[in-house]
């Protein structure tokens, strides 16, 4: 849902970054220097901060920090001097804003449970960047930045002004145009908060979008009073939750060695992030576009499933992690659904199948009362704990987990030994284990708890004789683990692809209504969901741009104020 906001932000961002690329880069550098100074003063002011605490025993992992993120990635991004889009900037500014607030209110150090958490989060977002500025190549800049501070401010203000203008053009329609009759009330109530404190602007902006789109889904179906009331309550609850939403700046590596920095909301699914990346990168729609997690240290990778929560997964990375997130086309992501006969029938050889039968097969496998896990079994090599030796065992896949046949027994179900249950582990493709672990072949898979990031006896390594077996196992495990959800993901991805061909310009909100409605574009905006894309994207564009601009200006105003205060 939220990608609506981020999306639109990015459209805005791109327009600007296209022409103001260099300016921005300069600006950013200077701004970083400024940040550096700021943090120094912050450090002086508040030595008691959560992050400066002597670290607790590290094995306690992230109890205290609700956030972890790879410093390496950000570091690299900065060192390379890539263009960093406004997204990232905004997130950082947001966090500064928060930080400034904490300083201005010294009492808040005795934090109430909830607030404290929230600050910690935002704090953390910004901190890797700070760390890198002090250690990285930007180090030399602070002196220069001092001089150009005014420049930057004016530049920023200019930028925000132009954005304001752009916003104004559309905002008149945006604040009043409501997508459904019932939503109108909500968004209008929300409108003042745009102009109110910057503090909440960021959150409420995305909350509006999410609320709106939520509404689009349900709205129009029922007009009953009870429903409406329930909806209102839900909206209120949503707002309460919204106040605590975490956001994360991530770096996504493209297939052409470039990378993109973007901000993701903790509630966003992989599908949503993919959609926004696809919108931005103009690489053509294909269901095969994937977000791939590469764990460098363990030489393994995994395609995130579309329904997974991205932030949750990225939070498993350690702070100094060299892990990468790749945005890349992978045919193996949905190969299972394109040629189900090769995966679901437990046959050894590949074969052709008529489309009609494929559909029937998928229907049979995924749409019954329970998902039938393909009967995959056979000899695999298992790496022995702590050794570089591999042992052959006869493994079987069942819905309840992976089993093997103990020595000297037949493969009757009751005698099987449970090797792993799949609830807590994910399946990864191993990379070049032949040289790393002396694996018998290159076709390896690994199973581990997503939080494990370093070598451990809790990671299980399996090696297959050929690539076909490898894919069968990996896909079988995915089916056993995710069941029908996988098929739903695929259908969703296909819908997106079809819709992309039908529509020249895309708004994420209208896609969701499905391809059936795509052929009947409606011009009125007070029709739920299927509204004409022109009006709608325009309105949300305006909204988010105005938000961005207000954040910029407010943040800088406060920043300079503090600056003055500390000077005095």
């Amino acid at each position: 849902m939220e990608q609506v906001s981020d999306d639109e932000l990015d459209h805005g961002a791109e327009e600007d970054s296209d022409k103001e690329d260099q300016d921005l880069d300069k600006m950013f550098g200077a701004w970083l220097g400024e940040l550096d100074k700021l943090t120094q003063s912050l450090d002086d002011g508040r030595p008691q901060k959560a992050l400066q605490k002597p670290p607790l025993r590290q094995e306690t992992n992230m109890a205290n920090f609700s956030y972890r993120f790879s410093m390496y990635n950000i570091n690299e991004a900065l060192n390379q001097g890539d263009t960093v889009d406004l997204d990232a900037l905004m997130a950082d500014l947001c966090s500064i804003e928060q930080e400034l607030n904490t300083i201005s209110k010294p009492n808040s150090s005795s934090r109430s449970q909830n607030k404290g958490q929230q600050f910690n989060v935002l704090h953390f977002l910004i901190n890797p960047t700070l760390g890198s500025t002090s250690s990285g190549s930007v180090n030399a800049r602070p002196a220069a930045s001092n001089i150009s501070l005014d420049d930057i401010t004016s530049q920023l203000e200019k930028a925000s002004l132009s954005m304001d203008e752009a916003a104004r053009q559309t905002s008149s329609s945006s604040s009043s145009s409501s997508r459904t009759g019932s939503v109108g009330a909500v968004s209008e109530q929300e409108a003042p908060s745009q102009r109110s404190s910057v503090n909440s602007a960021c959150a409420s902006a995305s909350s509006m979008d999410s609320l709106d789109t939520d509404k689009v889904l349900t709205g129009g179906e029922e007009e009953q009073a009870a429903k409406l009331k329930a909806e209102k309550i839900r909206v209120a609850l949503e707002k309460i939750k919204e106040a605590q939403v975490k956001k994360l700046v991530i770096r996504v590596h493209m297939s052409d060695e470039s990378s993109k920095t973007m901000m993701v909301d903790e509630r966003q699914t992989v599908r949503q992030v993919l959609d926004s990346l696809l919108d931005k990168s103009h690489c053509g729609y294909s269901p095969d576009w994937s977000l791939v997690e590469t764990i460098t240290e363990l030489q393994m990778e995994r395609i995130f499933e579309d329904h997974e929560n991205l932030v949750e997964n990225l939070l498993n990375w350690t702070r100094d992690s060299h892990n990468k997130l790749m945005f890349i086309e992978r045919i193996e992501k949905y190969a299972l659904f394109k040629n189900p006969q090769n995966y679901l029938l437990g046959r050894k050889e590949t074969s052709e199948m008529a489309d009609r039968n494929k559909e029937a097969l998928l229907e049979e496998c995924f749409c019954g009362g329970s998902v039938s896990v393909p009967e995959i079994e056979g000899v695999l090599w298992l790496k022995e704990d702590g050794k570089k030796s591999w042992k052959k065992r006869y493994f079987l896949l069942r819905a309840s987990g992976i089993y093997y046949v103990p020595k000297g027994k037949a493969k009757a179900s009751r005698d099987l030994v449970c090797f792993l249950q799949l609830d807590h582990v994910n399946v990864y493709y191993g990379q070049d284990y032949r040289s790393k672990y002396k694996a018998p072949t290159d076709y390896c898979l690994a199973l581990k708890h997503p939080q494990i990031q370093k070598k451990s006896q809790y990671i299980k390594y399996l090696c297959c004789d050929d690539v076909r077996t490898l894919h069968q196992w990996v896909n079988g495990i995915r089916i056993a683990k995710y069941g029908k959800q996988l098929y739903v993901n695929y259908q969703e991805a296909m819908k997106r692809t079809e819709a992309a061909y039908d529509w020249s310009s895309l708004s994420t909100a209208s896609i969701r209504s499905g391809s059936s409605s795509a052929s009947i574009p409606e011009s009125q905006s007070n029709h739920s969901g299927h509204s004409d894309s022109g009006v709608d994207t325009g309105s949300s564009h305006g909204r988010s741009q105005s938000v961005v601009s207000s954040i910029f200006s407010e943040a800088w105003k406060r920043g300079t104020q503090i600056e003055e205060n500390t000077k005095v």
Binding site: K53, L56, R57, E59, T60, N61, M62, A63, N64, S112, Q113, N114, Q224, A226, K227, K229, A230, I233, R234, A236, L237, I240, N316, T318, L345, N357, A360, L361, E364, G368, G369, S370, V371, S372, V373, E375, R398, A399, S400, G401, Y403, A410, A412, S413, R414, L416, C418, Q421, D423, H424, H449, P450, Q451, I452, Q453, K454, S456, Q457, Y458, I459
Partner: protein, 643 residues
Amino acid sequence: MAAWDLSVTVEDLGSDALPVTVSVTSDLHVGGVILKLVEKTQIKRDWSDHALWWEQKQQWLLRTAWTLEKYGVHADARLLFMPQHKPLKLGLPNGITLRLRASFSCPAFQTVIGICRILNIRHPEELSLLRPVEEKKKKKDKDLAQDIYDLTEVPLSSVSQSCLYNGMPAHFVGSPQMEAIYKMLSVTQPPPAPEVIAKQYRPASVVDKAHINGRWLDSSRCLMQQGIQENDRLWLRFKYFAFYDIEPKYDVVRLTQLYEQARWAILLEDIDCTEEEMMLFGALQYHISKVAQSEPQMLSTNAAMDDLDSALQSLEVKMVGESSSASELLENMTAPELNDYLKIFRPKRLTLKGYKQYWFKFQDTSISYFKSKEESIGEPIQQINLKGCEVAPDINVAAQKFLIRLLIPAPEGMNEVYLRCENEQQYAQWMAACRLASKGKSLADSSFQSEIQSIRSFLAMQKTNSHGNAPASDESINTHSLVSPRYHKKYKPKQLTPRILDAYQNVAQLSLTDAVMRFLQIWQALPDFGLSYVVVRFKGSRKDEVLGIAPNRLIRIDLGVGDVVKTWRYNNMKQWNVNWDIRQVAIEFEGNVNIAFSCVTADCKIVHEFIGGYIFMSTRSREKSDTLNAELFHKLTGGHEAL
């Protein structure tokens, strides 16, 4: 036309009575014969259900407009005048025997539809009647005692499926006896005593399982034609393992009986599963029996939920309730926490030997600990976030050992931590908190109290288990009642309890319906699910092999190896034929694959019916209408009778 004497035995006159002789002509229609017959008996009663049965021809004379000549009835015909509906002892999937009136004159398929209408089971096409496995004569007196459920008094005309009163079909409402019967049908039975399971017949091999399938009644012929007598015993079972459109709201009886059949299939190892799966099935059975006992109101609440208005109302109340609790939470900001002295042990750390006592604090989803209560304001010695961790119990009530074993994921691997509690009370609380936290839920979660309760009741179960073999009562369940006899030998109840408890923690929060559905799902996900076996002899082969018939495929099993040698899917099937003269089934698949076999342990009609039946089942989703296309079923399963 010449009149001749036709003698008819009237069943209602008693077995010793002489046949009644009526004078008829060959062009008299059957209705006329019956009229004469009734007049002659001089008994005034409702004869509408009666009809003539021709013994030599094994045929009912149901077409009253047909003349005797048309039927070919002559003076030597032995005719029987009797009711078409007769009482039958019906063994239900839950093991209980019911007496009810079933049609002996229409095809068994229709008879099952009638039975299911009385019992309020939707989709009767999935069920069929089975001749029971012969029981030893010794238990005769016990059987009589068991046979207390009598539905023979239900007037057949009053049975209608559509309307429910008080959550029950109308014909069950009224007398307490009838309501008790409905309760028996719709509520799961308590776990059977281990001895009962051990005494039941268990198929030892795939060939044994194949023999069962020779007992299905022919659904195209009536019960009389199949030699079923009044008051005979038959089993009602789900025959086709393709359960269409299960809707818990309407399918209370269907779900319950399906669950019972699945449960018995697991307990008697009719279907194979692994030890882990058995423990999960055990945990679900435990949970289901517990919730079923504590939820007697389920039926009436279901009925209330029928009402859309009340459903909406309850939604509203729920939303209001939620919001108030949420806002309260925000206002107060004092999230609930646990504080206590516990002992901790980390097996991997060499510095800490044995258990050390600390002041523990459970907050949100994390545990932190301090040297003492006094120091709990400051920095904790350590803080552990339990989100995503694995929680396992390690308890021995008799020895007062209450350990919580935590496996906490970290970048470096999993960390093992043991927490030792002093007593049951403490253990239940901290264990519940750990379990919720592992799922990312805090103590504020509404399920916290129920989680504590379920842990306590499980502890209570272990307590009773340690005092000898307690009989299965409502509070304490012998864990041997939940698993197949194989595990009775392998584990003592005491050893079994923690293993089932382990599996139980994942299902403890399910509602009754969800738990039943989960049980069925896991059952359906077993590799051998839905396979009905028949021993066959393939054309050109010299040895017996086993044909497995599943909802979507046929498999050929080599008896020597016990392995599946070949799979054929119905999707690729072009046609199948039965040569009734040589009793051979021939099937043609796409790609010029032809197979043919004769059946050894079952009649080829049964195999034919299985295949046709499954093809019928697969057509249901395409047909939107709710009415059963009985004609198509007969066409697909009938064989030459259908022509």
